[in-house]
Amino acid sequence: MASTPYDGGASLFSGGGFMPSQATQTPESGFSKARTGQGILPLTVKQISEACDSCEDKFNFIVDGVDATNVKLLGILMNKNERVTDVTFTLDDGTGRINATRWVNETSDTNEMALVQSGMYVTIRGSLKGFQGKRQVVAFSVRPVVDFNEVTLHYLECLYVHLDNTRTKLSQLQVNAAVGTVTPVPNDLKGYQTPLTNQTSGKVGSEFEIQKMVLDILMEPACVAREQGYHVDEIARRLGLSREQTMKAIDYHNDLGHVYSTVDDSHYKSALN
């Protein structure tokens, strides 16, 4: 009950790899925030482009509810342009094209970039940055693809991670609702939490489901990382609920000490992470 077979697969990635653990605490302060706490997310250019369109926040970058500061992309390198301090290029992964920059400070950086030429398949790892209104990748690694099975693997990773990030919460909810309990998966809730079982046993109506969905959103690493948490309207919009329904669920969690208000009565964060 603690985890479905599907979760078992995903947990292989917990923490250090592609799949950031739900329980991961992001440090509150400044510079290190963007660098730590999250793994590298395998993505396609189209996913980045769509997330850009829907993302109002210019500093945090979120794909499928997960912080996507550090990403891994794979595609064909094009328009390589070498300069004294950096190498710029375009990466085409079949879903779209994105500009990337690799700063060259050390000889090793220069050597690495000398190995890749326009027209080659490369894997890049780097940070997503906004510059002059455009998104680009600042790469910290650009490696040629040697075994082309890696191409298929990358697309599989993108699919898997996307499905995992978008479906896990739903399937947990379904499993929990089916047996009328809310046994938390270890990643989600800490042991000191008051068990919800007593309060919700047998209650599988929509009210309980809303409460669970609202809490799931507030427990996302992206929300935890944000100082003021999420606005009620933002949660309502994402779940397609009315403000009243959302507020009712938040009040419920607030009374139980699961969430707390931050800068005003409309912003909330989870107390359970």
């Binding site: 189209k46 079949g94 879903t95 993108c158 479906r167």
Partner: protein
């Protein structure tokens, strides 16, 4: 960022649906004659590709082709990449479980991929 001309993943069967559009596929090269390369696609159907440097690839190599679908069975090459002789991943990809569709052959991945938030809206 430019997502205006994506290359849709196709096999022999799916190619028919995307005539005139930018597509990508992998061929196992069987023949190289007169500037035309032909070979079997991932679902076993025979495809031909024209143009580019597709003709420079040796028989039995797997070649990825990105280009415009000319007809039901041919692609005009923009970019092609030699994936070598050991490109096995499209034939059998088993062992992935979970609530993703069970993957036996690339066709299923291709369908999932093209319908997902990745290429085709």
């Amino acid at each position: 960022m430019d997502t205006s001309s994506p290359a849709v993943f196709v096999n022999g069967e799916l190619l028919k649906m995307y005539v005139g559009r930018r597509v990508r596929t992998v061929l196992n090269v069987a023949k190289n004659e007169g500037g035309v390369t032909s070979g079997k696609c991932t679902d076993g159907q025979e495809l031909t590709v024209k143009g580019g440097d597709a003709t420079s690839f040796p028989v039995s190599h797997f070649v990825e082709v990105i280009g415009i679908a000319d007809s039901n069975q041919s692609i005009r090459v923009e970019i092609c990449t030699d994936f070598g002789e050991q490109f096995v991943s499209y034939v059998e990809l088993q062992g992935l479980s979970g609530d993703m569709i069970f993957i036996g052959k690339l066709l299923l991945i291709v369908v999932t991929w093209n319908k997902g938030p990745f290429i085709v809206d």
